[in-house]
Symmetry: C2
Subunit: 244 residues, 2 copies
C-alpha cells in the first residue's frame, strides 16, 4: 500500500516499506525486518540523531580502520538494503575488504547481495566460505582471505555470538548497534551506538581527513564502556522527557 | 534455517521465526515484522516481565471491558499470529465482539486472519467494512456493527493515528503497547505496557474474577499518565542496570 504522506511517522514507515520490498526481492531475511524494528526503538530513544559520543566513536572507528593491516567490512542483508550506496566511499577511504556474511545464509541471498554491492561500486571479496569461526552451524562460515585473516572487522548490525567469536580470535571488532545493552555492543572493541546510514558517512569523512598522528592518538586506549554508558544516559533522557 | 538451541536469545529468535512463517503464509504484513521488533526492544528494557503497574492496568482493562455496552477487540495480523489461542477465552470472559482491522489491508489477508481466529474458537464479526473513521485512505475502514458502534475498543498493537481517531469519536480505547512514548500509548484511555501474550491471559483472568463493584471502582478515574510514567521508570532502571 501507499503510505499516507500525512502520517507523522512517514519517514520511518517509508524505510520499513523499503526493507519489506528488499525482503520480497531476497536481499533482506524476514528475521532481519524484526531486527530493524528493534534498532528503530532504540533510535527513537536517542532522538534519531547522532549523539556527541557516537560522533567520537565514529572518529575512533575511522582511526582503527585506517591503522589496520587487514581491515574487513562484514555486510549482511540489512546493511546492504539500508546502506549499499554508502559502502564504496567507506571502502575507498579505508582500503577495507568487503565480505558478505549472513546469519540466515543461503548462497542465493549471498549472491544477490554481492551483486547489489557491486552495482554500487563496492569491490566484493569472492571465494568459497569455510567453517573457520568457533561457532555451531553455518554461522561459522567466513572467507579465509576475509574475516578470518582480518585484524579489524567492522560489523554493522551483527549477531552477538559472532561478535564474541571474533573477539575470542583476537580481532578488534567495531560494531554499529543501536542497542547499547546487546551482547554485540558489550563484546565489541568499539561500539558505535548510532543508526547505520548516519554512522557510515561520518566514519568515511573521518577516515578521509584524520592525520596519521590523530589515528594513533585516537586508538591508544579505547574505552568501549564509556561509549555504551554515554548512549544509555542519552536514552534515559529520552525516556525522562518523552512525555513532556 | 534452524535456530541453534545454544543461542542465548533462542526464545526470542523462535518467536521471530514464527512471525516470519506467518508473514510467508499471509497472516502478518512484512511491515508487521518490523513493528514486532520495536516492541521487543522495549520489552527487553522491561526485563521481559509484567510489571506491577502493568498488572494493575490489566485489571482496569478487564473492568472497562466488563462495564462496556458494546466492547470490541480489534485484531490485526500480528495479534492473530502471536495470540490467536488467547482471544476466545478473552471474548468469553468479556462478551466482546472481535473485528479484524488491518493497517496494511487486503481482503485476502483479512479473510486469512478471520479463518485463523475462527479455528481458535473466536466468533469473528462479519460484514462489509465502510469508511467510517476520520482518517485518509483505507485506514478509515471498519465495520458499522463493530468498532464504529463500540463504546470500548481494545486495540493491541495499534497505529497511533487510528487510536487518536477512535478517541476523537468519543470511544474509550485500551491499548496494549510496549512503547510508552508512542502516540497510541499517549492517546489511549488506558495503556497496558506489556507484551501481548503476557497481557491477554491476565486481562481474561481479571474479567472472570472481578466483582461488579470492583469493576465500578477500578474504572472511576483512570490515570493513563500514571501507567506510562511507571513503565518509563521501569525502563530507566533497565537502562541503568543493564551493563552491571
Amino acid at each position: 500500500m501507499t503510505i499516507p504522506e500525512d502520517h507523522p511517522r512517514y519517514r520511518s514507515l517509508v524505510t520499513r516499506e523499503h526493507l519489506a520490498a528488499c525482503a520480497r526481492s531476497g536481499i533482506v531475511a524476514l528475521e532481519g525486518l524484526t531486527a530493524h524494528g528493534r534498532g528503530e526503538a532504540f533510535d527513537y530513544l536517542l532522538g534519531e540523531r547522532t549523539t556527541a559520543s557516537a560522533a567520537e566513536a565514529e572518529r575512533v572507528a575511522a582511526a582503527l580502520l585506517r591503522r589496520a593491516q587487514h581491515p574487513v567490512i562484514s555486510v549482511n542483508g540489512n546493511t546492504a538494503a539500508l546502506a549499499a550506496p554508502l559502502l564504496a566511499p567507506l571502502q575507498r577511504a579505508t582500503g577495507a575488504f568487503v565480505e558478505v556474511n549472513l546469519f540466515h545464509r543461503t548462497e542465493e541471498r549471498a549472491n544477490t547481495i554481492a551483486a547489489l554491492l557491486t552495482q554500487h561500486g563496492v569491490a566484493v571479496l569472492t571465494g568459497t566460505p569455510e567453517r573457520l569461526l568457533p561457532l555451531s552451524h553455518d554461522r561459522a562460515l567466513c572467507l579465509r582471505d576475509g574475516i578470518y585473516s582480518a585484524d579489524v572487522v567492522l560489523v554493522p548490525l551483527e549477531d552477538g555470538d559472532r561478535c564474541e567469536a571474533l573477539r575470542a580470535m583476537g580481532k578488534q571488532v567495531i560494531a554499529i548497534d543501536l542497542n547499547p545493552l546487546s551482547r554485540t555492543a558489550r563484546a565489541a572493541t568499539l561500539t558505535i551506538v548510532d543508526e547505520l546510514t548516519r554512522a557510515l558517512p561520518l566514519i568515511t569523512r573521518a577516515a578521509e581527513t584524520l592525520s596519521d598522528e590523530e589515528c594513533d592518538y585516537l586508538t591508544r586506549s579505547i574505552d568501549n564502556r564509556y561509549f555504551l554508558k554515554s548512549a544509555l544516559e542519552e536514552m534515559k533522557q529520552g525516556l525522562t522527557h518523552g512525555l513532556d
